[in-house]
Every structure is written in structure tokens, then in C-alpha cells.
């Protein structure tokens, strides 16, 4: 299918490849500004405490210190949903919470000044477990949230946010069931998405009413909007985004880091940079949600799900940046994978005294599935149903409907995914490897192999709004005006390919502006796999608009009607007569530019799909689990760039993905409230030396999206994997595991070799 295109579907080097590999790309840490100061944060030693007294006098006297701020000195700017987290408060809510801010001439002086601040605390009891936190006598994090339960809603996603899945009649559904499984599973190891570049921002002020922020993020508009609203909608915010060293969703918004630099810049009258250290990034920024379910699933022998009910307890840590939105999307996504008429799934978002859970790819859905699917598989086990056949039967098909995040009902109008499932199973040799529930695929001495499969889909491929301009210059070049940041996926280069295809211009003649809210129109940014369809549609529409305007301007020069014109390589000609061609400048004139505009509005009717097959080997004498093989199967409609797509799918392991079933884990010490995994030795991150065998099965059945028939997939590459690994290990050792990550102690305990381990 790719052959009808000149650029689409063919590999092309990334536009920014040379500047990145030669070190010329300017990340937030590389930006130089006149008078730039460094900001640092003094962080709390206690998980929960009132600040009785702070003495900053010694810090303020240190040469080179330009500002020391405490909760007494800062405006009442509040982050969170709803706004609840003061940027500095008289109370601290986790170990690492901000106590004071310092700006100084160097990073070292700022750090030293933090050490000179004396703080007197009144310690309060802390709570870490969701079920403890909602008990009547539990410590309360916020006065306004009794029971530590956050209110519903995320205004940005609309007035009626989906906050539960309730439909049909579950009582009747359970009566119709031939088997009911019930249990508790948890995905609570709070892995860290951990992009390579830690979060960071620079802020400066132009007078009292205009704030400029440079942020390592996905798209400048979300930084602009989040800061604008937090600052009370009174300040003009210009946001700039450069290259971004990875995000995985987590840098979609970088509050409160941006707020720290903003207030320090305001007080000092100079630009201030706040970049988190790797240690701060590990322990104070954004972890995955904690997810625990007490659930119940009814099923018939043919794999029909008759009812699903459950209490879904979501641990958001000390504040919610967008957790209610993640719950909404998770609730939508679960319906895509599990066809069922009777639902009663009730989430609760609960805050506890640990580092916040933030936005992470998988966005609620991965967390929900990791806990819910194992209960579903218990029913499959009792009925001896092959999980692959089950997922194939129950994944959404064209014409099926679902509630999405705005609580509206949508009907899927894309391609049938069963062909991709079959191709994936064939590539994995599922039918040969699957031996039944809790049965190993093979046994060799102490080594036992097992297989598992998981599924996921997201209706956000067309979420939210995108706008773009495309400007044509008489020299035969085009510029895309978009505020999308390059956060590692290659999406900016893919936009260039789409525009190149529309305009039939060589890729070298297409440029894209830096992410800058002063220059480019509104853009939500790349999230939820929306880059290909949503952002792509805006850029395509802008290019088409520009092309029509070019034709209108140039028709007279060729003595033709605009609708009869074609363009290629910066030349214009009458359709069917390409030999007789003129350059753009002869058509439009050297003294003009042409500006096209494109806008895309949300479309939730094209959910994507990913099925992940895994094979593991368990050493039953040590409890060690090795991931041997991963096959990812999907249908993307049309590949835009094969290498970039492969890289997206190969990204399924890290960034709190499949490896959150095996090694990735933030370890919380519940005696002290400290996260113990504060370095890259103790935070277990797979290295390139231990990659499993990986294969991606990618189908291209055209989707009714935009002119290239493509939809995005990248965001969900991680999501089906963890529950598949849990299934595979359980099958390998012949007994079920209930929590992540599957560490040696849990395996040995499940095998009865030691006590403890996998606690439900």
C-alpha cells in the first residue's frame, strides 16, 4: 500500500538527527540567557508534617544567593485537579515535598544555601496504603478532601468526565454467568517513566504581566495553559519547547517545576532555571498510578462476559495533576478490550503521603488492566478458555460502542482487528506454545517457560484539538507552524513527511518551527497516540489549504483555472501537462508568501489496538524471571515511517512498561516514607545488553482518518505487556501470582520454597 506514496511509508532520516548526534540540540539545560540564575528546592525529610518555623537568614547571607523563599513569601498559586497543591505550603505531604526555594548565581551555591535553611517541623502520622487512607481515623492530607478522596472531574476534558463504568444490570449478569471469578489484584509498584532528560524549566518576566517559560515537554500549549490557569488567568504566558529528552507522558505538564522557576524569576527580576537532578526525578516528580481492584467477573463457557463489577482504588500520591482524567480514559479503554453489557466499576482516587503519580503513557488504562485482567483470566482458567481466543472474541469491532472520557457514547468506525491478532499469534506460534492455564510451555531442569498474552486499545488517537499553519515561500519551500515538541518519537519529522506528500516537495524543503506559543497556533501536543491522526490532520489540512491558495494566486500565470493546477518539487503545471511547468515564485510572485490553516477537532471513534505476546523463562531454584520474547501485533492503517514506528513499538519494555512486571519499581519504605530507589543501580532499568527477542507485526488496513488512512499507536505499546507477563510466569510455575513486579522472592514464595513474598 505504501508504494503509491512518495514519502509516506518510506524510511526517512529524522530532521533533527544531525543536531542531536552532534550535540547541537539545545535542551533546557543547554540554554544560555543573560543573567540566568539557578533555582534549587529544599525538600522535606518527613512524609507528613507541619512547618512550625523556618529560618532562612543563614542561607540568604551566603554570597551569590539572590532569593530564598518559603510559604510565607509566595503567592497562593495552586496546582492540581481541582487546584489544591500550593506551590509552597505550611505543611509537607511527602518525603521530598518542597519546603523552600533558592535562586543563586550557580547551582552549587543554590544547593549549599538549601543546606543552611533551618526548619522546625511538627511531625504528623502518614498514610501510604489506599485502604488505610480512606479509613475514618486516617491522617488527612488536605482539609478540603475528607477521607483523602479526590473529587471527580477534570474541566479540560469537558463538563461530564467519565468517572465510572456503570451500565446494564450486573446482578442479572452474574446470574447469567456460568462461572464467577472474584479477587484482588494490584499494580502498585509505582514505576517511574523516567525519560533520560530530567524535567526542567527556565522562566523570565517581561514586566509584571508577561511570563516566558522554556520547558522540556511535549508541546508548549499545555505548559502555557497549565501555568496560565495556575496563576489565576491574569498573566500572559508565552511558552517555548525545544527538543525534549523523552517524556512518556510525564512531561506533558511540568508543574510544579515551572512554578518554582516562575516565582524565583519574579522575585529576582532575572531568568531562573530549575532542572531536577536524576535523584529528584526519581523521587519527587511523577510515578505511575497505584492501582488495586477488588473485582468480580461473570463469564459463560463460550467466553461471553456477563458482568464486571469492582472497586478500583487509585493511589495518586500526594496530589493529582490529572489523575481523574486518567481514570476517565482507563474506564473508556477497559470497554474496548472487554465486551460486556453489565458493568459496575467504581473508581476512587485517593491521596497518600508519597511522591505523586502523574501522567504516564498507558494513562489509566494500563494500570486498570494490570489489576483487572488477572481476575478476568481466573474466570477463563476455570472455563479452560484460551486467552488469545477470548481477547479476539471480546475486543471491539466496527459498529460496537463505548462510553469515552466525556461520558458520551461513541461507535467504532475503524478496521476489524482480528486479522492483526491472528498474524500476531502466528508470528508468536501461540497455538504451539499455549498448553493451557497454569501449564508451562516447556520444562528443562529448574527452568520452566511460560507464555502470556495481553491486549489494549485507546480511543484517544483523535483526542483534543490541533491547529497548524503551513507557509509556502516563493523559493519552493514550506514551513509548518506547529507547537509540537520533539519528545523522541520522530513525530515532527513525520509531520514534515505528510506535508511533503501533500505538496510533493522534497523533504529537505520542508521545515517546522520551534515550539512557540507566540508563533504557532493551538496544539494539544503529542499524547494518547494522537500525533498521526489529530496533529497530522491539522498539518495536512493546512498544507491543502496553502496549496489551494497557491493555485488561486498562480492560475493566471499559467492561464488556467486554479482547480486544474498541480504542483511538484516547487513547480506548477496544468494537470496532464507536467512538461510545461513554472516555479512557484513565477506563480505567486517573489513578494508574497502563502499561509494555509488547518484545524482538527476531537474524534473518539477510532481506537487503536495492541496485542502483546510474551514468553518467559523462570528459574525455579532462584526465582529469577527472564523475558525471552515479545511479539507486538497491531494495525495502524498506514505506516508513516517504518523505522520510527518500529522504535515506538520497541519502546514497550521500558518507561514503566512491560518491565514494570519484572524489574521496574519504586520501593517505598513505609517506616520513613522514603523512596529507596533513588539511583540508577537501585531503580532497575533494563539495559541494551539484556533485550529479549522482539518482533512487531504491523498491518496496514486503511482507516477512515485522514487522506493517508493512518492512526497512531505509540502510546499504548507498553500497556498490554505487564499483565501478559504475569500470566506467563503464572503458567510457567503452575501457580498464580497476584502483584507486580514479579521479583525472585514472590516466585519462590509462590512455589512454596519460602514464606511471604507475593502478598495479596
Amino acid at each position: 500500500m505504501a508504494k503509491k506514496y512518495r514519502f509516506i511509508g518510506k524510511p526517512a532520516p529524522r530532521k533533527d538527527a544531525v543536531e542531536i548526534v552532534t550535540g547541537h540540540a539545545k535542551f533546557v539545560g543547554d540554554i544560555k540567557q543573560h543573567g540566568l540564575l539557578w533555582g534549587k528546592v529544599l525538600r522535606s525529610p518527613h512524609p507528613h508534617a507541619n512547618i512550625k518555623n523556618i529560618d532562612t537568614s543563614k542561607a540568604a547571607r551566603l554570597p551569590g544567593v539572590r532569593a530564598v523563599l518559603t510559604h510565607h513569601d509566595v503567592p497562593k498559586w495552586k496546582a492540581g485537579v481541582p487546584p489544591h497543591l500550593p506551590m509552597l505550603d505550611s505543611k509537607v505531604r511527602f518525603v521530598g515535598d518542597a519546603v523552600a526555594l533558592v535562586a543563586a548565581e550557580t547551582e552549587e551555591i543554590a544547593a549549599e544555601a538549601c543546606n543552611l535553611i533551618d526548619v522546625e517541623y511538627e511531625q504528623l502520622p502518614a498514610v501510604y496504603d489506599v485502604e488505610e487512607a480512606i479509613k475514618p481515623d486516617a491522617p488527612q492530607l488536605y482539609e478540603q478532601f475528607p477521607g483523602n478522596i479526590l473529587p471527580r472531574g477534570l474541566p479540560f476534558f469537558g463538563p461530564e468526565l467519565l468517572q465510572e463504568v456503570i451500565m446494564g444490570d450486573v446482578d442479572q449478569g452474574f446470574q447469567e454467568a456460568e462461572i464467577i471469578s472474584e479477587g484482588t489484584y494490584a499494580f502498585e509498584n509505582i514505576p517511574n517513566p523516567l525519560p533520560y532528560e530530567p524535567p526542567g524549566a527556565i522562566a523570565s518576566w517581561d514586566g509584571p504581566d508577561t511570563l516566558n517559560v522554556w520547558v522540556s515537554g511535549q508541546g508548549a500549549y499545555l505548559d502555557r495553559l497549565s501555568v496560565y490557569y495556575t496563576l489565576g488567568r491574569k498573566i500572559k504566558v508565552n511558552a517555548y519547547g525545544g527538543p525534549c529528552g523523552g517524556s512518556y507522558g510525564s512531561k506533558g505538564m511540568s508543574l510544579p517545576v515551572v512554578l518554582y522557576s516562575a516565582i524565583l524569576a519574579r522575585v529576582t527580576g532575572r531568568p531562573v532555571r530549575v532542572c531536577l537532578s536524576k535523584e529528584e526525578h526519581l523521587n519527587t516528580f511523577a510515578l505511575r498510578l497505584g492501582s488495586r481492584i477488588h473485582g468480580r467477573v461473570g463469564m459463560k463457557k463460550d467466553g461471553t462476559i456477563t458482568a464486571i463489577s469492582g472497586d478500583w482504588l487509585i493511589n495518586t500520591g500526594y496530589y493529582s495533576s490529572a489523575t481523574q482524567g486518567m481514570v476517565a480514559v482507563g474506564c473508556g479503554e477497559v470497554q474496548l478490550a472487554l465486551r460486556c453489557n453489565n458493568w459496575d466499576l467504581r473508581p476512587k482516587v485517593i491521596c497518600t503521603n508519597r511522591c505523586a503519580s502523574g501522567i504516564v503513557r498507558g494513562f489509566g488504562g494500563q494500570e486498570l488492566k494490570c489489576a483487572l485482567l488477572p481476575i478476568v483470566t481466573e474466570a477463563m482458567e476455570k472455563l479452560d478458555i484460551d486467552p488469545f481466543e477470548f481477547f479476539k472474541k471480546n475486543y471491539i469491532r466496527p459498529g460496537d460502542g463505548y462510553y469515552w472520557r466525556d461520558s458520551n457514547w461513541y461507535v467504532y468506525r475503524g478496521a476489524e482487528y482480528s486479522k492483526a491478532m491472528d498474524k500476531g499469534a502466528e508470528a508468536f506460534r501461540w497455538s504451539k506454545k499455549w498448553r493451557g492455564w497454569l501449564k508451562p510451555t516447556s520444562v528443562d531442569g529448574s527452568k520452566r517457560r511460560g507464555v502470556g498474552v495481553g491486549v489494549h486499545g485507546n480511543g484517544d488517537t483523535g483526542e483534543d484539538t490541533s491547529e497548524a499553519y503551513v507557509r509556502l515561500d516563493p523559493d519552493g519551500t514550506a514551513t509548518i507552524y506547529s507547537s509540537i515538541c520533539e519528545h523522541g518519537t520522530g513525530q515532527r519529522s513525520c509531520l514534515c513527511k505528510m506535508v511533503a506528500e501533500v505538496l510533493q516537495l522534497p523533504l529537505e524543503h520542508i521545515n517546522i518551527t520551534d515550539s512557540d506559543t507566540r508563533i504557532s497556533p493551538y496544539e494539544f501536543g503529542p499524547a494518547g497516540s494522537r500525533g498521526t491522526y489529530a496533529i497530522g490532520s491539522a498539518a495536512i489540512a493546512a498544507a491543502e489549504d496553502a496549496k489551494q491558495k497557491l493555485f488561486a494566486l498562480s492560475a493566471h500565470a499559467l492561464n488556467a483555472k486554479p482547480e486544474d493546477l498541480e504542483t511538484e518539487d516547487g513547480m506548477l503545471f496544468i494537470r496532464g501537462n507536467p512538461e510545461n511547468r513554472i516555479q512557484w515564485r513565477r506563480g505567486m510572485g517573489v513578494d508574497s508568501t502563502v499561509l494555509g490553516f488547518g484545524r482538527f477537532e476531537a474524534d473518539f471513534t477510532l481506537p487503536n489496538f495492541m496485542m502483546t505476546f510474551v514468553e518467559v523463562e523462570v528459574d525455579t531454584e532462584t526465582g529469577k524471571v527472564d523475558l525471552l520474547r515479545v511479539v507486538s501485533a497491531t494495525d495502524v492503517g498506514q505506516i508513516i515511517d517504518p523505522y520510527m514506528l518500529e522504535n515506538q513499538l520497541n519502546g514497550c519494555l521500558g518507561s514503566a512498561g512491560i518491565d514494570s512486571a519484572l524489574i521496574e519499581e519504586s520501593v517505598l519504605d513505609t517506616n520513613t516514607g522514603r523512596l529507596l530507589t533513588a539511583n540508577m543501580v537501585d531503580y532497575k532499568w533494563r539495559t541494551f545488553a539484556e533485550l529479549p527477542e522482539m518482533q512487531n507485526v504491523i498491518l496496514e488496513t486503511p482507516f477512515p482518518s485522514h487522506r493517508f488512512g493512518a492512526i497512531g499507536i505509540g502510546e499504548i505499546a507498553t500497556a498490554p505487556g505487564p499483565s501478559a507477563v504475569l500470566m506467563a510466569v503464572s503458567n510457567a510455575i503452575g501457580t498464580r501470582l497476584h502483584s507486580y513486579p514479579i521479583t525472585p522472592d514472590k516466585v519462590l514464595a509462590a512455589l512454596g520454597k519460602i514464606r511471604g513474598g507475593d502478598e495479596k
Partner: protein, 327 residues
């Protein structure tokens, strides 16, 4: 990171006298793969005024063999040791252990002296100061051990009393099995100490102004099998959760003598003498290997979250006894 003076010295004597001049306010830097992270995270209450650079000091990176055995200068790089033909031929347990350290970059920078003298990896001990303050404990001078009631999955299962941190060094485990000694130079002259005695419950045997200068390994029996098996979650980067080194002399299937050392179980690599006894004079098979494995953990007293380490010790002891001499 907070700045410090960096003082290069031409000789080991110069290093010792410079250390003395700083009156306890200086530390030695060789490969720097450990000390720099200790300083960067400011895990210790005292921050040195100076680092005494010995890595450019010449003549202390030798690997040579004489009639007494192998002698390795403290500045020999781990990668050099791992690649050295003599070490690979006669002191294989050490070569194998050196090969398992971290990753190529670390092995190219890290020295054997530094690998032996590195600080513990206890995650309470290593907690970064910038995230709410370092965690004090007895090893830092004063304080309770947070691991006892906390998350002690990587902590000691044997012999520990007040501090449950374990010795992180891979090469130390092999050197204990090889019955090696280290040479230490200080203001009072030179002394040697067994590697097994170099580690103490709260640190190592280096006194003020002393520097580890040489490792001496007696020649093991030529026909002995040598092993080093390391269990970690990740092959690269990780320190061992448990490791076992062994020198085993087996003739006609019968174990005549063996030296088995356990890593990751205590503040020092421990000789598994009960296991050695259990294997001695026995035909090595599944049964005798199992009984030696059981004997190796007879004294284990795991904490709340590390009883799995006992199982892994048993598995590794069994495997070193039963395996062929693998590369």
C-alpha cells in the same frame, strides 16, 4: 556537586603524607566510580576538603606472578584483570568475578583496590542528602539501622548485629575463596591482612591515612576447579544479590578440598566452612551438593524480606559444586 580540591601525588608515600596533612579531611580517588557518587549524593555527614588523586601515580597497576603466587597492584583496572591471561589461566575465579562487575565503562575506570574498598550499597546508607536529608546510622557514626524494620531485601542474612549492610564487591568474594591477602601502606609502614578479615561490621580495615596497595593471591592447586556465580536482577550494572566463589579440588569425582565463599550475605564475604566440610571426601553428586548447600546456610538468620536470599545461596552453592569449569 560541591567542590573540593583535587591533589595529584607522584608516589604512594606522597599520597600518605598528603592524607596526613589534611588531618582526616581528604579521601583517595582512583577510578572514582564509587567515591564520586558518594560525594555527589552527600551521603556522609563529613564532606572532604580534598581528593588525593592516585590514579595517575605510576607503577601500581601491575599484574605479575612469582613463586608465591599472583600480585596485583591496587590500581590495576578491572578490565585489565578480566582480560589478563595469567589470571584467566590460574586464578579464574577472580577473572570471572572481575568480568561480572557493572559494565565495560565501569570496568575500564574501576580499579581492583577501589572495588575492594568501595562503600556499601545499602539503600538507606546511600539515600541522597538532597531528598530530605541523608539517613544516619551506626556506619556513619550514630543511629539505628533502618533496614531491620524496613525494606531489607538486599541486606545481610548472616552474622550481622547492628548493621545489616553487605559487602558489595564481586572481586572480594573470589579473593576470599582464593585465600588472598591485601597489602596496606600507612604512616607506620606496611601490613598485610587477609581479604576475609579486611571487612568489618561497620566498614573496612583501612585506618586513617592508610592506602590499599597490593593484592596477593597464593597459587591455587593446578587441578582445582574455580567458579564465580553471581545472582542479580540485571546482568550488567547490578551488584550481586548473592554470589558464590569456589576453588574445588576434585579427583575421580571425589572432593578433596574446597574453598567456598559467599557474597551478598554479610558485611564481608564469608567462607562457607560447613559446606566445605560437608563436601570434603565425598563424591560430588546431587545429594552431596544438596547437603553442602544446606550446610552453607545453617547459620542464616534472614530478616523480614530476604529469606529468598537463603534459597539462592543454596542454589548457587549447589551449582558451583555440580558445574564444570565454565567460562
Amino acid at each position: 556537586m560541591k567542590s573540593f580540591q583535587h591533589v595529584s601525588v607522584p608516589t604512594i608515600e606522597g599520597a600518605i603524607s598528603t592524607l596526613k596533612d589534611y588531618k582526616g579531611k581528604a579521601k583517595v580517588i582512583a577510578g572514582g566510580t564509587d567515591i564520586l557518587s558518594v560525594l555527589k549524593d552527600r551521603i556522609l555527614p563529613e564532606y572532604p576538603q580534598a581528593l588525593i588523586n592516585i590514579k595517575t601515580l605510576s607503577g601500581l597497576d601491575y599484574i605479575r606472578e612469582d613463586k608465591d603466587g599472583l600480585k596485583i597492584g591496587a590500581l590495576a583496572r578491572l578490565s585489565t584483570i578480566a582480560d589478563n591471561p595469567v589470571v584467566n589461566n590460574k586464578y579464574r575465579a577472580l577473572a570471572k568475578a572481575a568480568k561480572t562487575v557493572a559494565n565495560p565503562q565501569i570496568r575500564n575506570m574501576g580499579t581492583i583496590g577501589g572495588n575492594l574498598a568501595q562503600d556499601t550499597r545499602c539503600w538507606y546508607y546511600r539515600y541522597p542528602h538532597q531528598l530530605g536529608g541523608r539517613i544516619m546510622c551506626l556506619r556513619k557514626g550514630n543511629g539505628p539501622c533502618a533496614a531491620v524494620k524496613g525494606d531489607n531485601r538486599y541486606h545481610a542474612i548472616m552474622e550481622a548485629k547492628k548493621c545489616f549492610a553487605v559487602c558489595p564487591s564481586d572481586t572480594a568474594v573470589a579473593l576470599v575463596a582464593l585465600e588472598a591477602t591485601v597489602k596496606i601502606r600507612g604512616p607506620q609502614g606496611e601490613r598485610t591482612v587477609l581479604v576475609s578479615a579486611f571487612y568489618q561490621p561497620l566498614g573496612n580495615d583501612l585506618k586513617d591515612n592508610e592506602i590499599l596497595t597490593e593484592i596477593q593471591v597464593p597459587e591455587p592447586p593446578a587441578s582445582a576447579r574455580q567458579e564465580y556465580i553471581k545472582f542479580a536482577l540485571r546482568k550488567p550494572v547490578d551488584f550481586g544479590i548473592v554470589s558464590v566463589a569456589a576453588v574445588i579440588k576434585v579427583t575421580d569425582g571425589v572432593c578433596h578440598e574446597s574453598s567456598i565463599a559467599l557474597g551478598g550475605v554479610a558485611s564481608a564475604p564469608l567462607r562457607a566452612t560447613a559446606a566445605e566440610q560437608a563436601a570434603k571426601g565425598k563424591v560430588i553428586n546431587e545429594t552431596t551438593a544438596n547437603s553442602a548447600a544446606e550446610a552453607s546456610v545453617a547459620g542464616a538468620r534472614p530478616l523480614s524480606k530476604n529469606s529468598y536470599k537463603v534459597e539462592i545461596v543454596k542454589t548457587l552453592v549447589k551449582r558451583v559444586l555440580l558445574s564444570g569449569d565454565s567460562e
